[in-house]
Structure formats: C-alpha cells, structure tokens
Symmetry: D4
Subunit: 254 residues, 8 copies
C-alpha cells in the first residue's frame, strides 16, 4: 500500500464509501513488510549510490548475467565477486562496460564511474599470496566511490618494509589489513595509526593455520586497540565496511 | 637523540670538532626506536584526546592506582576496565573524581569531561545478560568524547522490540551490536542501516554456545554487509573502534 | 496505538477535526513495532495459555520476583528455570502458590492449573544423572498444560529396561529423549516409534564427552528418522517444543 | 510371521494338526526380531503411508535400482535422496513413474500419489544457495502426503522480505527454516510464530562458517523457544520430522 | 511370560476356554523386553562373578550406600568409583568390610574375595600424576578376580626405566598403559609385546594437552598394532575390558 | 654382538689376550639396540605366525610388490591394506596366490592358510556404507588365523535386526562393532554381551559427523562397560587386536 | 650394575671363581635399563651441570621436599617449578639456600652457583601479564648456568618499545619470546635477528584466545624463519631448550 | 640513503653548501625503514651465507623463475620449497645448476656450494611416509652449509631400530625429529640426548590424526625436556632453525 493508495482509502472512508472497519482492517492487515518497506526504502535511498553486490560462487554464468542485467536496468553499478573465468566471459559478452579484475576474481560494470571521495583507504597486505583477497577489498572500495592505496608484501617478518610505507598508511582514513599465516600485520599497523583498522584473515598457510583460523584468532585477540575483524578471505566485507566509514568521514552529514 | 642534540652534533662536525665517521655512526647507531618515537609521538599527538586505558584484570589494586596516578599526572583521562570492587575502592580512596560504573565493571577518572562530538553512537544489546559488555562499550564511548544511545533487550526473538527502536538506531553514526547465544542481532540490524555495525559476541549462553563461540561465528558469517567483529566480551574494543569512526565522521579532517 | 485509538483517530478525521495528512502520518509514523505488536499480539493470543518463562541463571532473586510479579498481575502462569535455592526462597516468601521443583531446578506459580490436553508426552532418560534435565523438560511440559510420562534410567547399555517400557513410549504423542555420554538413546527410541522424538544431550560424562558435545553430535547424526535436537542441557527448550507439537495434535485447529 | 500366519498356526494347533510343542517352538524360536517385527510391524502399519527412503550417496545406480524395485514390489512409495544424474538416469530407465527433482537431488516414484493432509508445512530459506537443501525438505514433505509452501530468499539481512511473507508462515502447522552462514533465520521466524520450527543449517558459506558449523551452533543456541535442529544439510530429516508433526496435527488420533 | 505360562495359555485355547484373539494378543503384547530379559539374564548369569559397579561422582553418599546395600543383599561384590571422602565415610560406617582405596578414589566391599585367575594384568603408567587413574584400573582388575602388576613412572622420556621392566610387562596377558601429556607410552609398549594393550589417556598436562585430548589422539593414532583406547581418565573402563580379556585367556571356555 | 661373540670375548679375556677395560668397553659400547634386539626377537618369535602388514596408502605399486616379495621370501603371510586397483594388479601379476578383497580394499597372499583357531570373532556393522571398514577387519581377522562371523546392517535404528542376530554375537569370543554416524552400535551390543567389544568408528556420515568424529566420541563415551576403541576407519587395527585377544582365548598359554 | 661391579665380576671370572655362563648371563640378564643406564649416565654425565627439575604442580609440599633432598644429597642444583606458597615455605624451612622466585612461581636451591657461560639469552615478553611465564624461563636459564637479559612489555602494539631494545636482542645467542593474546612478538623479533627464537605462547587473554591457543597457532604459523615453539605457558621448556643451545654456542665441543 | 650518500650530504653541509636544517631534515625524513634497512642489512650481512628461500606453492613457474633469477643476480644460493614438477622443469630450463630434490619437493641452485660446518645435524624420521618432510628439512640443512645424517624409519613401534642408531643421534649437534600419527619419536629421542631436538609433526595418518594435529599436540606436550616444535609438515622451518643452532655451535662467535 503506497502513500497514494492510503490517501485514497482515507478519502473514500471520509466520503462514506467504505466503513471504518475496512480502513482499520486495511492498515492492520497491511503486512508489516509494506510499511517496513517504506522504512527500508528510506534507508536504501540513503545508500543507493552503493552498488548491489552479486556473490558469484555457486551461481551459474546465466544466473549472474540475469541478476546483473536487472541491476543495470535500475541504473545501478554492478560488482560481482568470487567469479570464475566463465562468469567473466558471459558478462563481457553481454555488457561491454564489463571490467574483469582477474586477480581480485571480480567483475565490475559501471555505467558512470562514481565521483571519488576525498580521503583514501589503504589496503595493506602481508604476502603475495594474500593479494587476491586484498584486491577484492580494493576493487570493492573503488567501485563504491573511494580512492585506494595498495601497499603489498609488508609482512611483519620484514618490519622495515612496513615502516617504510607507514607515512602513507597513517594518512589513510581507514586501513584494511590483509594477512594469512600468523595474522600479525593488523596488530602492528594498528599500534602505529589512529584510524580504524579492518583486519582480514586469509586462508593462506598450511598445517596448523587451519585454513585461516590461526590468522583469524590472532586478529580477534589483537593487543592493539581499534582493530575489527571480518570473516576469513572476506575482502569484499572489509571493503564494504571501509567504504561505509570513509563515507562517514568525507560525505556531508550531521 | 633529540632534534636539538642532532643539531649540536652537526655543528660540532662542521666546526671540525668531531670526524664525519662519528656523525654517520651517531645517526646509524641511533636506535630506530628513537626516530620511531618521533613518528609515534606525532600520531599520538593526533589522538591525545583519547584516554589511555588500563586493563584491570590480573593487576593488583596497587598497580592500577599507580598507573592511574601516572596518567593523571600527564593530565590524561583514565579508563580502567575489567575491575573488581577492590580496584574501585582503592581508586576512589586515592582520586576523588573516580566514577565507578558498576555494571560495566569500569572506573573512569576525568579531570575535565571531554566535549562531546556531534552525532552519536548506538549501543544495542540482545538480552539483559549482555548488559555488562554493552555498558563497557558505552562507558568507553562516552569517556572518549562521544554521545551514546543505549538500546537494550531487543533480541531477535521479539523482533517488534527492535523494529520499534529502529529509527533511533538508523540515526546513529556507528552501531555497536552486542549479543550472546545465537548472535543474530548484528546481522538483522546491519540489514536495516547504512552505517558501520561493530558486532560484539558475548559469552552469554550455555551448552553449545561454547563461551561465546557460537555468537562469534554467527557474526563473522553475517549475511549482512557492513558488519565487523571484535573478540568475545570485548566491549571496550568495540567502543574504541566506534569512537575512532565517530571521530572521523565528526571531527575536522581532510 | 491500540485498535480503539486508531478507530478514534479515523472518526476524528471523518468528522473533519484532523486533516488527512495527520492520519496518514499517524499510521506511517506508527513504529512498525506497534503494528508488529498487533500481529504479534494475535499470535500471542493464540498461544496465551502458554506461560512466559523466566531464565533464572544470572538474575538476582529480586529481579526474578519482580518479573514474576508482573507476569502474575497479567494473570499468567509463571515458570522460572535454572534457579538456585535463593530464588526459590524469595519466590515462596512472596507468592504462596510457589511450587519448587527441586530436582528440575524450577519454580512454577500457577494461578489455576491449566486443563491438561488429551494425549501425553513421554520424557525418557538414560541415566540417573540426566534426571535434572529430564525433570526440567517434564515440569515445562506440565505447566504448559500437558500430561507427561516419566520413564527413567533406560540407557542403551541395558536394552531390556528400555524395551520393557516401549509400549508406553509408543503411545506418546511426542517423546523427549534425554541422554549424556554417548547419547544413543534417542536413536534407539526413534527406531521403534512413529512419533517425533526431541533429543536433549546432557553435559553428563567426563573426558572426551566434552561437556555434552559427544552426545550432541551423536544425536545430530542419528541414523533414525524423526529426531530433532536442542542445545545441551536444554530441557526447557525440548519441553516447550514438545508442548507446541502436542498442542497441534490435540487442540482444535484446521 | 504375520498375524494371519500366527492365527493359522493356532487354528491348526486347535484342530490337532500340529502338537503344542510346535506352536510354542514357533513363537519361542521366532527370533526376538520376529516378535519384534510384529511390534515394529504394528507401528510400521501405523506409518505405512510413509515411504521408505533410500540414501543415494555412496550407492551405485544398480544398488539403488534394486532397492527401489523391492520397495515398489511391496507397493510402497519410493524416495531416493542425495542422488547423482547417473542414479536418476538408471531409475528413469527402469521405472517410468520416476520423477527427478533436480534441484533437490532426489527421485520420487509414486505408484499413486498420497492424498494430501489438511494444513501445510512451510519451507522457508535464507538464500538461493540454500535451495537444494530446502527442496530436499520440500520434496520429502510432499511425498509423505503433505502440502508445502516454499518461501525462498528471505534472509535476515533483508528483514522486510521475511515480514512480507510472515502471514503465510504463521498459518503453517510446522515451519522448516533453512539457512547457512550465520543461521539466524530460524530464530527470527520462531520469535513470530506459535508453531514448531525445525531448523536446518546448511554448509553454505566460507571461512569461519566451517561447512555449516556456524549456522548449526547459532540454531542450537537460538534465543527463541520452539526451535529444534537437525544435522547440517539434512533437508530430508527436517522434512520427515515435519511430516510426523503435521500428521499428528491433522490425522485422526487420540 | 514363561514357557510354562505359554503352554498353559495354549492348552486353554485348545480347550476352547479362551478365544484365539486372546492368544494372539498375549504373544503380540508380550513385551519384547520380557523375552529380552530372558536373554539378558542368561548373559548376566554368564558374567555374574563380575561386580556391578557404582559410579560415585554426582551421587550423594546416601544414594551410594543404598545402591551398595541392594547389591550386597544379592550377594554381589561392590565397587564404587570416583568417590569423595564423604562417600567413603558413609560406606565404612554402614559396611564393615568397606575398603577405601584412597589413591584410586574407589571403595570395594567384598563379601568373599574372588579367587584370582592364573595369569596377570600389568598396569603401567608414565608419571606419578597418572597414578590415580592407574590405581582405578588396578583396583577394578583386582576386584574382578585378577592378579595385577603395578609398574609406575616409566614414561618414555626415560626409556631405560621402561626397558628395565619390559620382561614383566611381556609376561602379562593384558597390559593397561596409562599416560597423560604426549601419551606415547602405549605405542612404545605395544611395539615390544604380543599381547593386547589397552591405552588410557589421562587429563594430566597443561596448555595444549587440552585436558587429555593430546594423549587421547596420540593413542588413537598409535603406529603400533594391538592398541585399543578408552575415554580420558577411564581407569575403570580399561580395567573392566582387561578383566574380560584375561577371563577369556584363563577361564575355561570353548 | 651375539652370544657366541660375547663368549669368545670373555674367553680371550680370561686367556689374558685382551685387557679387562676392553671387555668392559665392549659390553658398555654395545648398542642397547643389540641387546634390545635379542629381547625383541624373542617376542617376535612368539608372534611370528602373525603376518607383517603393509599399509598400501601412499606407497607405489612397485614399493608394495618389493616389500611383499621380501616378506614372502621369509615365508610370511602377506596382508596389504588400503590398496588401489593398481596395487592389486601389480601384486597379482607377480604373485599368483594373490587374493584381492575388493570391498575390504586389501590383498592377502598366503603361502599356506593358517589353521583356524577354535572360537570365532564377530564383525558386526551398522550400515552398508560401513562395509569396507568391516571387511578390512574381517579379512585381517581371517588372515591371522581366526574364524569370523560377518553380521551386517544391524544399525540401532532397526533394533529388531540386531536382536535377531544377538545369539550368534553372544557366542563370539570378541566382537568388532563398526559404525559411522551416531556410532551407537557398540554401546548397545556391549550391553548385551560379556565379551570384549572393539569399537570402530567410520567416517560414514555428513555434516556434523565431522568425518567420523561424532561416532568416535560416542564410542569413547559408551555407557556400556567393556568397549575399547580404535581410530576412525581402522578396521585393520580392530582386527589385529581382536586376533590377539582370540589367540589368548584359544591358544595354549599359562 | 656399575662399572666397578662389572669389573669385579670379570675379575672373578678370570680368576676362575665363576663360570663364563654366569658372566654372560649377568650381562644378558642385566636389564637393558642397566646397560641403558650406563649409556644414559654417559650422556647425563655430559649434561650433569644441568639441574634436575621438579614439576611442583600436583605434588604435596612433603613430596617436593623429599625429592629435593634426594637431589641435594647427590650434590645437584634444584629447580622446582609451578609451586605454591606452601611449597616454598616447606622448602625454605628445610633448606636454607632456598630462593623463592615469587613471580616465576619457582624455587631454586643451589649449593654453589654454576659459573655463567659467555654469551647471553634474551627473554623478551609482550605484556606485564606474561611476566610469570617469562620469569619461569629466565630463572630456568639462570640456574642452568646462563646469563639472561630480561626485556619486558615490548608488545607489537607499541613497536617503538621493541625497536628501542632491538640492539640488545640482536646480541643474544638465543631469544625466548613470550606472548599471549595474538602472539605476534616472536614473528616480529625473528624477522630482525639471525639467532634462534623460541616462542612461548601464554594463556593470557580472554574470549577467542582460548587459553593461549590463538597465540600458539600464531607462533606455529610464523612467517619469520627460525621460530620454534613450546607448549602454552611452558617457560621452563623454553628456558631448558635455550640453555641447551647456548651451551652448544659457548661450551667447548667439536 | 646509503652510507655513501649520507657522507656526501655531510660533506656538503660542512662545506657550507647546504644549511644544517636540510641535513637534519634528510636524516629525520629518511623513512625509518631506510635506517632500519641499515640495521637489517647489518644483521643480514651476518647471515648472508644463508640462502633466501622461495615458497613455491601457489606461485606460477614463471614467478618462481623470476625471483630465482633476481637472487642469483645478487650471487645468492637459491632454495625453492613445495614445488611441482612444472616448477622444476621451468627452473632447470633456465638455470643449469638447478638440482631437483624430487622426494623433498625442493629445488636448489648453488653457484658455489657453501663450505660445510664441523658438526652435523641428524634428521630422524618415524616412517617412510614422513620422508618428504624429512627430506625438505635435510635439503634445507645442507644448502645452508651443514652436514646432515639421515636416519629413517625408526618409529617408536620398533624401538630397537631407534636404539640401534642412537649413538649417531647422540653425536649430532641438533636433532630434527619428524613424525606423523602419534608423534612420539621426538619425546623418546629427547629423553636420550642432551642436544636440542626440533620436532616436526607431519600430516601423515588418517581419521583422528586430523591432518597432523595429533602429532603436533603430542610434540607440544612432550614429557622430555629440550623439545621445540614447528608447524605441521614444516621441514624447511625445522631445517632453518637447526642450521641457526648449528651455526652457533660451530661458527666463530663470542
């Protein structure tokens, strides 16, 4: 029931065309979700410059193309994560603006690139094997309208590499720190900056890394304040949260 | 080696009083940490309106009093977390501005309350048993110069309670969502807001809650974007990160 | 906004005392929860012969007495689970109908005992150490208006004991099977009956029972169809679900 | 030995055609299992409109065809779960009534479709990746003689979608709630209905979802009463238990 | 229903005193358990020289005394495991033959000591902290009519101590090997003997011993053939199984 | 140093041909292992009618053939476990007595079948998927000179099937009980027999069976006395231990 | 059999007082352990300046005093770890050289302090709560004859503190790095030194630190080469291994 | 800024060509990492005879060739671990000194073999399946300039095999003990030697070995002093640490 429909209902009631019980029933019977929608719509309007995101894993290329088409119809940016080469091919065939971020295993289709916010997000990562996850975060961050600084291969075993890039890191509004194995990078970085650090454990490692559990636990137990954590390999999730924070930092708001 | 000392060193070199090798050695031998200190100091200056925090658990009341005294000497706010009644008593005896936040198991000693930032942080929690952790987050948020809205007992089993408070939650700059048991609250909240949600699993529950592991896993696996997670029962950590984000949103910066 | 208030609002609108915009606003602004309440109320009305349940653990005797008082004011049955002797004492002092189920660690306060449904629920348990959990289930079942058959100490190591009681078990509408250690009882029972079996793992055991995890896993992996599982030691949860099912079986409905 | 055979035996004894010892021997020598069979038969008779179910995984197509043939000989419905395309092909080749439920990875072969019970079972699921498990539950429910409502893609991150379908959900006799990742759906649903909710965790997710463990734990720790849980991905088990409950609700019984 | 009763039943049927339906009903209604009892009784007769065992943990002294009294009435040996000083006191007060095995945390009450079997069982243990569990095994073994050799403190870190006792170990019919920490003793022993080795992990250790899990896993993964394992700290279980095996080795049987 | 060599050494010392220090040195320097060998040899002689066993997994067909050839040279029985079709082919090509036990994934090569012991070992298993592990146990038992009774598909969900075979099970000297999923079979069996039960958990199952962990824990926590456990899927280990026990029961010994 | 006894035996044989068979028997029958002892003695002689260590936990004060007395009789250093105040009191009462290292929860009793080796071992630790474990390592290191440098509170969250002490750390022969929580310290240190780093996880932390498991996993997965790990809280084990290494570095050897 | 550049800077300052502020700025602005580099360089100089190591897993052959080429340009030894046949082929094609250690899954490219240190490292392993990990350790040890003794297949189930080689083991400066399954070898070895033992758990085993976790836990809980542990299958890590220790033992140092 839209606002217009509700107004008509009330008018018909005032005009005596329908009994009061019917009006009451209409409002009561109105599924919460409809009113809920209004509310949800409001807040979706607030964030509508954020692209809807398609999780590619476990979807067929056809399904992904179909969902992407629907989003593009509504004039939205498209970000597809966790794709295979097949997904990329199918999307490229259909939509010419398709950009395939090979390393990040993502596709973006932007009708018109979003204007970039002032300030930037740093995506730092410990080792070269962490790059796919770091890139998923970076691509997410960019497609959502943020500038990004990629700082790679600064694992804690070679501290000088990290310290050499610290100035840049300290200038970022948000830092996404990606690491597998012992997952120490976010703790060391967070000890040196005053901005929020979003830690992303990766499944990089073997033996007692248990597919990223060792890094995850290290990050949850960080002795440095200001670290929050996302799921193992969840570059997208970190990028999304970082963009929300950077938006708070740079967009106009109360 | 301070900047003054370095200048003197150079002058003596120029004056021929010391050989070049000695200057080079002085700079090379200079412990990285001293130069590091400079850098660290700079960024600590940037955040010096943030109180240093004392983790009370496992420290004697005497130790806590001693550290607090040192912080107060330097004119800093004091926040002590995870305290016992004994800690509180010892601090109150020594420092008259001591405020004991019983439920939060914290003490704050503020020389002068920080001016509060515009915008606020919402601390929502699922059940009454989650209150101590939620209060630790709320007290942290407040002592760091933020306004806070406490919204309690809105667990997902009674959805209407949460929906009734949604408007307030949506107005917050950051939401801290605290829950034990199945830990679903942050996911449901994050689906309805466009701001960052920091999820705090609590150790509330029994049996297969495994001291908060069930809630932790649920939060790490949230199907809603924009959720980041801290350690089980880590109300302070969530409050600290939320304050960093709110500071980005409201303080003057690039 | 109650139905009565809504009706008055509409009448005043029809009478021209308030503008349409105000009515629309009232309904739209109405917190979703209020309409939600209506819906929730409806379904709570459907189940209003079910007592609200107070989880005693972690609440002070005063808190429990207060909540119980509020429930009794509204004419509801009271069930308090996981209580200590102190809770029981405080409740008995205040409410004379208080019944303390020592073994079940529960208190019930019934203004008027609910009429019992036709059909019964069997609560079977493996060992004497499982009795407190079994009794929590049985007391829950009874206070919610069901007849219960308690069948104790029929662990699978002495199969004849279980077989001797099988006829009774087969007559029940629902079976709650409580077991610790290897948790085999629900599988064996479910193989012999055509009714739903709700399995309750208990934390009874030592070593590699891991506080009930062994029994929980056994029950989740039951080779017998028709077994569903609740949390470790969650006698109340099993009793609640069993009562819902027995209500379906015996109450009038479509 | 069927009841008829036993009656004939007794008649021949009364008629003097066989000695008493032979009768006694027949009953005594009858392995417990035979007498057990009688008992089991009785209760199997009670449930004989339930199809025997073949777990396809790990069986060869030949084995599955053979077991199915035997069941069909006895006039029973056939449900084969966890099948591959090979199983389906082999069954279709042999039995023309074979229906291959591709998404559910099941085959059903029904001589004569069972009359459907009054009342229905709702199968709700959180995401599109949970569909195969949800469909396994739905197909099980249908082949066992129940009507089913499928309600898909109502994950808690988009609460309005779930609320929009709540009315239907509330009308169901039993709800099967299927979810991976954080597994919050059953808790939210159970908070809004008065009927039993059977929760099915799925292995959908990555990283710290640990193949469905995160969802499983969330469901076991649900803060909403009336939730019982089955094994990860066990759509069949949920469907079977739901059918047992719906049968109690709708079939004639004491 | 005994054979005699069944015969009478049949005679009365033949004589026309009771209808066929009644006979059929009697046989069908005969609880499986009754026939089962016969079977169970038989095998209990076979093992009636084995004492019934009372698990003391979680039982009150009164309960234990009561069960012990019942067993003694039937002329059986009594073994109570996992007792406290209170249990021991209560039993000693009531039964004068009570023997309190302090280290083993057991009480035995033997009317008449069983004659000891030829052959013996070796109970070997790694460290002095493993002694309570080893003694529980040894006391069990003795009360069940076996001779026992106790060989203590022969952990693998001092291999010579174990080798020095190897001759005795090799002469045993069964070896119970008790160890905490890394749990290597059973593997080393089993490599040097041709008799069955029953491994008992103990909860002795700290940190990553996880209450005996490290030892348990080591024993389950033993590279030496002939090792079987019981639960952590389950000295009684090992003693019971060892006695069963020694009984096979030494009692008269086919 | 053999006994003969030692004697010669002593003689040369007595004859004054070598100094005392040299004799002492010879004995001291003698690697413990040599004396150890003597001891080990003795006990290997005691068990030399037991075949050496080759674990095929992870070995090439060539390696397996080579080890088998060496064993056959020494006149020993050969048992190869965990083989592939390739292993079997390679062995059959080389040794004509090769028997490939397809289901058990084993090969045996017996020069001369061992005479079978009196008494037999029962191998019972819960489901048809557990057969490969049960067969590995059965083939091991047979090749080591024991008679075996295979009793399949008697899972606890259909208790009558197990009870029907109980008489045979009770006659066995040792019972090997193989089960996956909830692993209840050994507990139920052990409650009905007086002989040792060796429980073998299998990796059969899905979801929260965690590759056999659920069954393993159930077996370790068995409420029935007399159950010992081997590693998941370790049919060979169970067969080996069972044969050791049956040998004690039937071979001549003190 | 000591060397002296063996010599006497040989002399008596040479003198014809005993037959050769008796000598051979003596050596052969000599428990392997006796000869083993010789060997073990040899290598214990090599390390005899290392004190025997008494693990105090779980031993009574009397037991500890007794073992200490025996060690002192043999002129050895005494180190008792994991003691309570009671242990310390009992030891001090008996032995006046007793030194109670309160923080380290150790007692040492040194007849004569060992001369210290050249070179030193650095014991670095992350936080003040890790001190007891670090001190256990330091005291162990000292009592075994090594010089130690204690470097405390240099956790990775304040990198400058660690870098300030790096020069000292780099000069050590071995570094023991002690840390709880996220356990990152050993990785960062090992990246900056060329000497072996022994990592000691502590149980310091809460929530998902799981009693030190998070730190343990981080250390096992260190991205820096040269890190080896000991059990959680095992300061003694780290000190012992470090002393072995420092002994290799500084003692005379091939 | 290299030392040369710094010297030039100072000279220009002394010559009055640049102001003091500029010099100060140059040193201050110099990224910490540059000064850090100096320090790091110093310690890398100390260890520059150690080859840089390339972890092959997850890198393409091209990437590996490229990194190897860069290392060779700088005159360094090359060690590539965890390679596939493709890596080996690509390296061999490019660099003729390439040596492919098939079993160890490593490639080494040595311009000039390092002179071997006095003293040796023993690499002992339990079973033939542990060989690849043991070989990775051995190859690492050798390429870093150490002599190695390989001692294979001395698992604790055949103790005599280990004792037979003990003399050699005792002569080593460091022992690397590699074992899967129950992981007992390092404990037994460490009980017999006075040198450091580095334990390497392997993922060899099945069922409850959990990919090496059982062995890992056994090693962390070793009852023998002097054992430190590396990650599962981390032969390289053990070899690296062993070489560091052997270098301490044999190279000239304070």
């Amino acid at each position: 029931m839209t606002t217009t429909e509700a107004a008509q209902l009330l008018d018909r009631f005032r005009d005596g065309k329908i009994p009061r019980a019917k009006v009451l029933h209409a409002f009561q019977a109105a599924p919460v979700a409809d009113l809920g929608f209004a509310q949800v719509d409001t807040h979706r309007a607030l964030r509508k410059n954020f692209p809807e995101v398609i999780f590619g894993a476990g979807k067929t290329p056809e399904q992904v193309v179909k969902i992407a088409a629907k989003l593009l119809e509504h004039g939205q940016q498209v970000l597809v994560t966790r794709i295979t080469a097949d997904h990329a091919r199918a999307l490229r065939k259909k939509f010419k603006r398709t950009v395939h971020h090979t390393l990040a295993r993502c596709v973006t289709i932007e009708k018109k690139t979003l204007p970039k916010r002032a300030g930037f997000i740093a995506v730092v990562c410990a080792g070269t094997s962490d790059l796919p996850v770091a890139e998923e975060a970076a691509v997410t961050v960019e497609v959502m309208g943020n500038r990004v600084e990629r700082i790679h291969d600064i694992g804690v075993a070679g501290l000088h590499r990290m310290l050499a890039r610290m100035e840049t890191i300290q200038e970022a509004n948000v830092i996404i720190a990606v690491a597998g194995m012992e997952g120490a990078l976010p703790s060391v970085v967070a000890g040196l900056v005053s901005k929020p650090v979003i830690a992303v454990p990766t499944s990089v490692g073997y033996g007692a890394s248990f597919g990223g559990v060792a890094a995850l636990l290290a990050m949850l137990n960080s002795c440095a304040s200001g670290v929050t954590v996302v799921n193992i390999d969840n570059g997208f999730g970190a990028g999304y949260a970082a963009s929300q924070i950077n938006s708070l930092a740079t967009d106009k708001h109360r």
